[in-house]
């Protein structure tokens, strides 16, 4: 999978590349508007991460160019601005998703996977990990070809863990992924424990190996 990261903040793009390396993504970086235009014109990418506030131009114009040239690259706008208007404009221009800075790298990874899944018309909507099968279109899980019943939240949680497999995901990140703005109303992360416990139980009961590991003090990891 080829990714283009259009971001002028060097340390941030370095972090993104470092995190996504594990997932077999090939990452290229475009630190300014001109480079971004050049690269998108010359290559096709599976997904483009687009920062709007570039030093020499508005990132949205890269998006417009892509659409004007009928390219099928997925686009996720990453922006510090996070105003509702920006969100709407970006999505109206044809972006696949909008993620406000600062974001969790695990969240970014999950969104990239989702965009690529949506954009590829050649299958790959089914994720197979050993005995575990996830049908992302039907949103169902089966273990050894037997389907198991998960709540919406449990499904989201499992998908999140799987797309960030073998990486530690912080409790904060999980909380925000599951409950969005509601996350800061909770006193603690008990609700995560509950969902996690239920998920593990259902998987194990269906005969699945317990890949979900708790990492001391930090969070969880899907270890496979």
């Amino acid at each position: 999978m080829k990714l283009l990261i259009v971001e002028d903040e060097k340390e941030l793009s370095k972090s993104i590349v470092a995190y996504l390396k594990q997932e077999n993504y090939l990452c290229e970086i475009a630190p300014d508007f001109k480079t971004a235009l050049d690269k998108t014109e010359s290559f096709d990418y599976d997904c483009v991460l687009l920062d709007i506030t570039l030093p020499d131009g508005n990132g949205l114009n890269v998006l417009k160019e892509l659409k004007a040239n009928n390219k099928t690259d997925g686009v996720i706008i990453i922006s510090a601005k996070n105003s509702t208007d920006d969100r709407i404009i970006g999505l109206n221009l044809g972006a696949d998703d909008y993620l406000a800075k600062p974001f969790h790298l695990s969240e970014l990874s999950a969104r990239i996977a989702a965009v690529i899944r949506r954009r590829r018309f050649d299958g790959n909507k089914i994720l197979v990990l050993n005995e575990l099968t996830i049908d992302t279109l039907a949103k169902t899980i089966s273990v050894n070809n037997k389907s198991i019943d998960l709540t919406r939240k449990e499904y989201d949680l499992l998908l999140y863990l799987v797309t960030n497999k073998n990486r530690v995901i912080s409790k904060n990140a999980i909380a925000e992924h599951l409950s969005g703005d509601e996350a800061d109303v909770f006193d603690n992360f008990d609700f995560i424990y509950v969902h996690m416990k239920n998920l593990k139980k259902k998987l194990v009961q269906a005969g699945c190996t317990d890949y979900i590991k708790s990492v001391y003090g930090m969070g969880y990891k899907f270890d496979i």
């Binding site: 903040e9 800075k101 600062p102 990492v215």
Partner: protein, 411 residues
């Protein structure tokens, strides 16, 4: 000045003619009287003594032989005056003369009546003159004064109305008077400067907040990468989580500050009819996990439908802040009551058993609980939004319920 001169010029001939006419009247009256008197006197004085003869023709004159010399003495008496037929004041001169070696007492009297009327006339005219001059001067002065100071008062009025946050610069009248022209120019440049400072301060807060987001993003990403390193000791794991939590709080704080800056900068100008009950239900849905986690029961009572003309996002933030506070500061198995009335709503919750400190409640960064997630900015933001829509927000504590009440003053 001109006026006074004019009045005086007019008054002099007027004065002159009036006095002349009075005097003339007098003289005429006198002549008539004399004629009448003459006839009567002649009848009277045939073959009388010489003094009586004299007195008949000179009624004001009195002469008798005396035994001593009287010095010149003046005095006033009231006496009957045959002309005006009443008692009038007279001025009398009593004296002595010597005729043919014999002293005589003479008294000459003169009626003061006409003098009086002349004096009265003079005084009257003078008084009228004075009053005319004073009244006239007063009006003229007032008129000129008004005209002279008008630009000053106009400028004063504009200053009263001027708001530093308004986009238009202050409009001051053109004036010919140098001093006021100077004043206006100075005021113009002062207000322009102030407006620029105000704008750059507004921008600063927003810009600072924006700028913060990039290093915060970098920070968070590095901490997350740190989590992936292996091996990680337990001690390191705890430190990393500590960093992550702190980073999270910084994010929330920054977002909240940015929002406050935007509200202050009037960036939420779009309004619509926002239904309070719908907004409450929407937010209650968003928070349902938190509500069930703490086992809090939420009760909503609608006395009358409330719809406010306001910005939807801001209203959601307002109600959301109050609601999340009610959840966060609640006790397990606690309760939240929401009361909605025509132009107000109240959110009450169970919680700590002592009332909150009202004086510090709406200040930025004042935290009322040890909950690390509680940002002091929540209530400040609620208050700011209320100010924007001319609403009041009040806190009260009764029957173990903490209540926040928002009432809108214009429907």
């Amino acid at each position: 000045m001109i006026y006074s001169v004019l009045v005086l010029l007019i008054s002099v001939p007027a004065f002159y003619y009036k006095i002349k006419s009075i005097v003339a009247e007098d003289v005429d009256e006198d002549l008539m009287a004399q004629k009448a008197g003459m006839v009567a006197k002649i009848e009277k004085v045939f073959a009388k003594n010489p003094f009586e003869f004299l007195e008949a023709f000179e009624p004001d004159f009195y002469i008798r032989p005396a035994t001593f010399m009287q010095k010149d003495t003046f005095y006033n008496i009231m006496e009957y005056d045959s002309l005006s037929k009443e008692n009038v004041p007279h001025r009398v001169l009593e004296s002595s003369v010597v005729l043919n070696g014999q002293p005589y007492l003479i008294k000459i009297k003169s009626s003061l009546l006409d003098n009086d009327s002349i004096i009265t006339s003079i005084v009257l005219v003078q008084t009228i003159l004075t009053m005319l001059i004073m009244a006239g001067l007063l009006f003229i002065t007032r008129y000129h004064s008004k005209k002279l100071w008008r630009p000053f008062y106009a400028t004063l009025g504009r200053l009263h109305e001027y708001k530093i946050e308004s986009e238009k610069s202050i409009q001051l009248e053109k004036t010919d008077i140098d001093e006021f022209s100077d004043l206006n120019q100075t005021i113009n440049s002062l207000t322009n400067r102030n407006h620029q400072v105000y704008l750059s301060q507004k921008e600063f807060t927003e810009n600072a907040s924006h700028e913060m987001q990039t290093p915060l993003a970098v920070f968070q990403s590095k901490v997350e990468l740190l989590m992936q390193t292996s091996p990680v000791t337990d001690e390191q794991a705890e430190l990393i989580t500590g960093l992550s939590q702190a980073g999270q709080r910084m994010n929330r704080l920054n977002k909240a500050l940015l929002l406050l800056a935007k509200i202050d900068n009037n960036q939420f100008t779009e309004t619509e009819q926002v239904n309070i009950e719908n907004t409450v239900q929407k937010l209650a849905g968003q928070y349902k996990n938190a509500l069930s986690q703490k086992n809090i029961s939420l009760h909503t009572r609608v006395i009358a439908d409330a719809s406010i003309e306001a910005n939807q996002t801001l209203m959601e933030i307002l109600i959301g802040n109050l609601l999340s506070n009610a959840i966060r500061h609640n006790v397990p198995a606690g309760r939240i009551n929401i009361l909605i009335d025509k132009s107000r709503f109240t959110i009450s919750n169970t919680g700590r058993s002592t009332p909150l400190d009202i004086s510090r409640l709406f200040q930025r960064f004042q935290k009322q609980s040890a909950d690390p997630n509680s940002l002091g900015l929540g209530l400040k933001m609620a208050k700011r939004i209320c100010n924007l829509y001319n609403a009041d927000i009040n806190y009260s504590f009764a029957e173990c319920l903490h209540s926040f009440s928002v009432s809108f003053n214009n429907s």
